[in-house]
């Protein structure tokens, strides 16, 4: 398909990029383009301008934060994330979502920020971000601000139209922590019909100290599965407690679409939750 005409800019600073966004309300940010260009080719959106963030050096790279957590620049490619040793060790669910987000060629161009900005398009990364309680750093006309998961009732991060994601900050996970992601995919698009990410830590007595579970594919945005979290919080971990909690009723309204019925999705979320929790627990080395 042919693209409709548009202007292109590749600013070298965040300030310049925000200025372009303010001046061109119909502009879109180009941060990999795996979702954006597809939508443009199908003429679902016809932006007046693409502002390519690829030349802003400050947006790249993965480094350890002062608190022992990790900071990932928004324009870091998914390939860099998948290949990063520290991320694989401590934040495996995030790496798994990055792996699910596309094949190697796509991962080479897709960026973390691009994926997060495309929440609702089937990309699984927002689920992992929620499960790790990550903080989003965004830059806008008023300067830098941070957004956390809890800011929006357990839903994923909402931003203003003229803000740019600059980085995410993952809090340290501590000892005896584990995480996992699994999805059930649509066979046409390869996108998740639903996907569940879990991040947990287990106390010395075998009790669940921290438990964050997030799902994608159930609505426009990624969301926490708080009913399961609450059912598990502080409980002694066994296969049975995980199974029971995973079947906890799902409160949001699901919609039937071509890929799956609402009731099948609800069932799958329970199965996936159980599977990721068991894997996360197993990865700690704790046998329930």
């Amino acid at each position: 398909m042919m693209l409709a005409p548009f202007d292109y800019a590749a600013p070298e600073t965040l300030e310049k990029a925000v200025e372009l966004l303010q001046r061109n309300p119909e502009a879109r940010l180009l941060a990999g383009g795996q979702h954006l260009l597809t939508a443009m080719k199908l003429h679902r959106i016809t932006p007046s301008m693409l502002i390519d963030l690829g030349k802003i050096a400050a947006l790249r790279g993965i480094r350890r934060g002062s608190d022992g957590g990790m900071r990932i620049g928004a324009m870091t490619s998914l390939t860099e994330m998948v290949e990063n040793h520290d991320l694989r060790e401590a934040y495996s669910a995030l790496v798994e979502t990055a792996t699910h987000a596309g094949d190697p060629q796509m991962r080479n161009v897709s960026t973390l920020g691009g994926e997060l900005a495309s929440d609702g398009s089937g990309t699984p990364l927002p689920a992992a971000i929620l499960a790790f309680d990550a903080t989003l750093r965004v830059f806008g006309p008023e300067g830098t601000r941070t957004i956390t998961a809890s800011d929006d009732g357990g839903e994923a991060y909402k931003m203003d139209g003229v803000e740019i994601i600059t980085a995410i900050e993952l809090p340290p996970v501590g000892e005896r922590s584990g995480s996992a992601y699994e999805a059930f995919r649509d066979r046409a698009s390869g996108r998740a019909i639903c996907g569940v990410a879990a991040s947990i830590s287990i106390g010395l007595a075998g009790e669940l100290q921290r438990c964050r579970i997030a799902v994608i594919g159930t609505g426009r945005r990624a969301a926490r599965l708080t009913s399961i979290e609450e059912a598990l919080q502080g409980r002694h971990i066994t296969a049975e407690t995980i199974k029971t909690a995973s079947r906890a009723s799902y409160q949001r309204t699901l919609h039937t679409d071509r890929a799956a019925s609402a009731e099948y999705k609800a069932f799958l979320i329970g199965v996936l939750a159980e599977r990721v929790l068991r894997r996360a627990v197993a990865s700690v080395g704790y046998t329930s």
């Binding site: 005409p5 059930f184 649509d186 066979r187 046409a188």
Partner: protein
């Protein structure tokens, strides 16, 4: 000289240019001064066209011409349809020459499916043409829509064509209805089942395209297009669409990026670019999009079969009957009707000797994209029917499905075998194929594997499908009886150059089958020359000898046979000329390894190159012999050929989610002698992927208003590399008796069994739950529902 002849696993000569992106497809061609055409397609599945306003579009930047049906009056006839249901009364839209019509080139008065072309815009650039489409205003008056074939036959259903009452194009039958019904009535066991082969969307990598050009000095038209039948399309376009002298039309098929049957059809864009090129005095190019392909290129399958199998308690099948409804879509496609009737109906007995058989097919017009061929068409639907029924029958009588198959197969000593429905199976050893496949899968250990899988939370199932597929279409006189308005032979030309190099020109057109490699191998083998000295040309009607098109897995057995016969003519003339040179009798001359020599005095020898030069100079030839080595041969086969095989699928189904994992796929195929094992295996692997797609993934979904919901690849599930297992392939070899090469069709045969094998495996995995059938494509959710005892599974 390296081994390069027939039977060698040579890498395809075509591969480097395909892999490196240097192959030139129609869309890659730019002619001087070329304009670009875009097509406005209907947004309604059924509507009266009240008014089309093109004025605004005509004023858009770069727009040179806007054309609707009104502009075609007196300039263009409707497209013709050239394959009827042989022997049946057929109803079609009209055509002035009395042949069946396939609808006007641009929709007149009514649109009948989404995608029906209404108007075209020609502009300086493709973007300008596309933008101008949006400025065309069409006023529609919506009409009621009908999507399914059975619904379209019902009283009061919306009528598509005035000339076709009840939307019924034909009611075609084969076999002995009365005897079959009698046998069913008297049988110990009767299994009845309804099977649906869902509609699929053909998805070659390259969408269709066409470039028309016109030379006002010579008054000659040239069409460059994605056509797998350039000669045939030239004939039909000149004679039955444009009404111009055949000599004034040249058709060229540049490199084609896959077809699976779709590019053997006439489409509106072909005559349109030619007419526009003449009227505008500049070449006109049209390139389809993926979305356009999905809305307008012929779609596949779409038959609903009501089938009955009868047999004895001890596993002998005595009768088979089928009533099928084939959904033709909105218009008859060029050869769609024959595909839906003959190729399906005559094939339902499969590899089995069934005494009484009968099949009837209702072919029906609906408000969907026209139906055509898809790799394995007809035969895949028939194989699905018999192979699913056999498993149901085996379950009913408590016999192993492999044993039921073995017990009923045509025996090797029964060939040639008349299958009671019109096919004369040429040769085969069906039991050997079944035995080999069972051995490969380890059929005896399946019980243990099922138990092991169960411990992992998986249900393992094994499904067998045996098949025979009519290929090598076909004897021309026979095809006439089957309703084809055309021949089914092929031809080839060999011109030996004075240097001894060979130019082989074939009538057949490749769409990705590596003709340039495999046809050259026949020449290298027969003439004993290095393959590097052989050039293969094709697909340009100004140069190529005649051919009837690439379909029905016929290129190698029919076209290849023409090449073979031509090589024998070359050898014979060389031997005659050599006999004269050496002053011996012709019978004294031996042709061997690219040389001719005197049997009793081998020192009297001439190489191929030397003989080529002798015949080029023509200084010393036998009396009456013409100079040169230039032969054209036509080959019309005596019978079809009947490749066969056994496929076995092993699936594991997740006990919780119903997710299906195709863990093993065993395919034992017999395509007769094999000209190039690499090429044939490539065809087989691609074919299996096609079948996997139908079984598990693919489905064209139309909503009640006739909108195609799966008109992009984000919505239409095609198998990808990660969706297919590593195939376990083997073959048996039963040479075809009716051609000297002993080859049978190979391009589509392996696509006919997978759907049945996979569905059999799924039902095998779920058999203890009482699940007998799940409709294709079998998705995880359908399995999950079936496991939970819900509807849409037949019990």
């Amino acid at each position: 000289m390296a081994q390069t002849g027939f039977g060698t696993a040579l890498k395809a000569r075509e591969a480097p240019q395909m892999l490196q992106g240097t192959a030139q497809y129609t869309a890659d061609i730019t002619l001087p001064g070329m304009l670009h055409m875009e097509i406005l397609r209907s947004h309604y599945a059924h509507a009266r066209i009240v008014h089309i306003d093109t004025r605004a579009a005509a004023e858009m930047p770069g727009v040179v011409r806007v054309m609707t049906a009104a502009d075609l009056e007196g300039k263009m006839m409707p497209l013709p349809c050239i394959w009827l249901a042989g022997g049946a009364e057929c109803h079609f839209p009209p055509h002035p020459y009395g042949v069946p019509g396939a609808g006007s080139v641009l929709a007149k008065e009514k649109v009948r499916y989404i995608g029906d072309p209404l108007a075209v815009v020609v502009a300086e650039t493709r973007s300008q043409a596309r933008d101008a489409l949006g400025a065309i205003r069409v006023e529609y008056e919506a009409l009621p829509v009908v999507i399914g074939a059975e619904q379209a036959l019902a009283e009061g259903a919306p009528q598509l064509h005035d000339e076709v009452p009840h939307n019924l194009s034909a009611h075609w039958t084969c076999g002995d209805q009365e005897a079959t019904e009698r046998a069913i009535a008297g049988a110990e066991v009767v299994v009845r089942h309804t099977l649906e082969n869902q509609r699929t969307i053909n998805s070659p990598l390259e969408p269709r395209s066409a470039i028309g050009s016109y030379d006002p000095v010579t008054e000659e038209y040239t069409l460059r297009a994605t056509t797998q039948s350039p000669h045939n399309h030239r004939f039909l376009l000149a004679e039955l669409v444009l009404g111009i002298p055949l000599n004034k039309l040249r058709v060229i098929a540049p490199t084609i990026g896959g077809s699976f049957g779709t590019k053997g059809y006439l489409y509106p864009d072909m005559p349109l670019v030619l007419l526009l090129a003449r009227e505008l005095g500049r070449p006109v190019k049209w390139v389809d999009s993926r979305n356009g392909l999905m809305r307008s290129t012929v779609q596949g399958r779409d038959q609903k079969q009501y089938a009955t199998l009868a047999g004895s308690r001890d596993g002998k099948i005595t009768a088979l009957s089928c009533t099928s409804y084939a959904n033709l879509g909105a218009y008859p496609s060029t050869i769609g009707l024959g595909v839906a009737t003959v190729l399906m109906g005559r094939s339902i007995t499969g590899v089995y000797a069934i005494e009484h058989a009968f099949c009837e097919v209702y072919t029906v017009f609906t408000n969907t994209v026209p139906l055509g061929a898809q790799r394995g068409s007809g035969r895949a639907e028939a194989t699905f029917l018999i192979e699913r029924l056999i498993d149901l029958y085996a379950a009913e009588i408590g016999m192993d499905p492999a044993e039921v198959r073995r017990k009923n197969m045509v025996r090797p000593d029964q060939f040639p075998y008349d299958n009671r429905l019109g096919w004369l199976y040429d040769s085969g050893n069906y039991q050997a194929s079944l035995d080999r496949a069972l051995e490969m899968v380890g059929y005896n250990e399946i019980g243990a594997r099922k138990a092991e899988a169960r411990r992992r939370g998986k249900r393992l199932g094994v499904g067998i499908a045996c098949f025979v597929a009519v290929c090598g279409v076909g004897p021309s006189a026979r095809m006439a009886k089957e309703g084809m308005l055309g021949g089914a032979w092929e031809s080839a030309n060999i011109r030996v150059q004075p240097s001894g190099e060979i130019s082989l020109t074939i009538g057949s057109t490749p769409t990705g089958q590596s003709h340039e490699t495999t046809f050259a191998q026949i020449v290298a083998e027969e003439l004993g020359v290095d393959i590097d000295t052989i050039q293969v040309r094709h697909s340009d009607t100004q140069q190529a000898p005649y051919g009837q098109g690439t379909y029905g897995s016929r290129s190698y057995s029919v076209g290849g046979s023409a090449v073979y016969v031509t090589t024998q003519n070359v050898k014979e003339k060389m031997r005659k000329a050599a006999a004269h040179l050496f002053a011996v009798g012709e019978e004294e001359i031996v042709y061997e390894s690219g040389k001719v020599f005197v049997r009793a005095a081998p020192e009297n020898v001439k190489t191929f190159q030397e003989m080529a030069l002798e015949l080029w100079y023509g200084w010393n030839l036998p009396a009456g012999m013409e100079p040169g080595l230039d032969f054209t041969t036509y080959f019309d086969p005596q019978n079809f050929n009947f490749p066969f095989g056994t496929h076995i699928a092993v699936v594991e189904i997740d006990e919780q989610t119903g997710q299906i994992d195709l863990v093993r796929y065993i395919a034992v195929n017999d395509v007769g002698n094999v000209g190039n094992p690499l090429v044939v295996n490539g065809q087989i692997e691609g074919s299996i992927a096609h079948g996997i797609g139908q079984a598990l993934m693919e489905e064209a979904i139309y909503d009640e208003e006739g909108q195609l919901l799966t008109d992009e690849l984000l919505a239409y599930a095609l198998p990808r590399a990660t969706d297919v297992p590593v195939y376990e392939l083997d073959r048996t070899v039963t040479p075809a008796p009716q051609n000297a090469l002993g080859v049978k069709g190979a391009g589509e045969v392996a696509s006919v069994a997978p759907a049945a094998a996979i569905c059999n495996a799924i039902c095998n995995a779920l058999s203890d739950l009482g699940i007998k059938h799940i409709e294709m494509p079998v998705t995880a959710e359908k399995v999950w529902r079936a496991m939970h005892g819900e509807a849409n599974a037949q019990r």
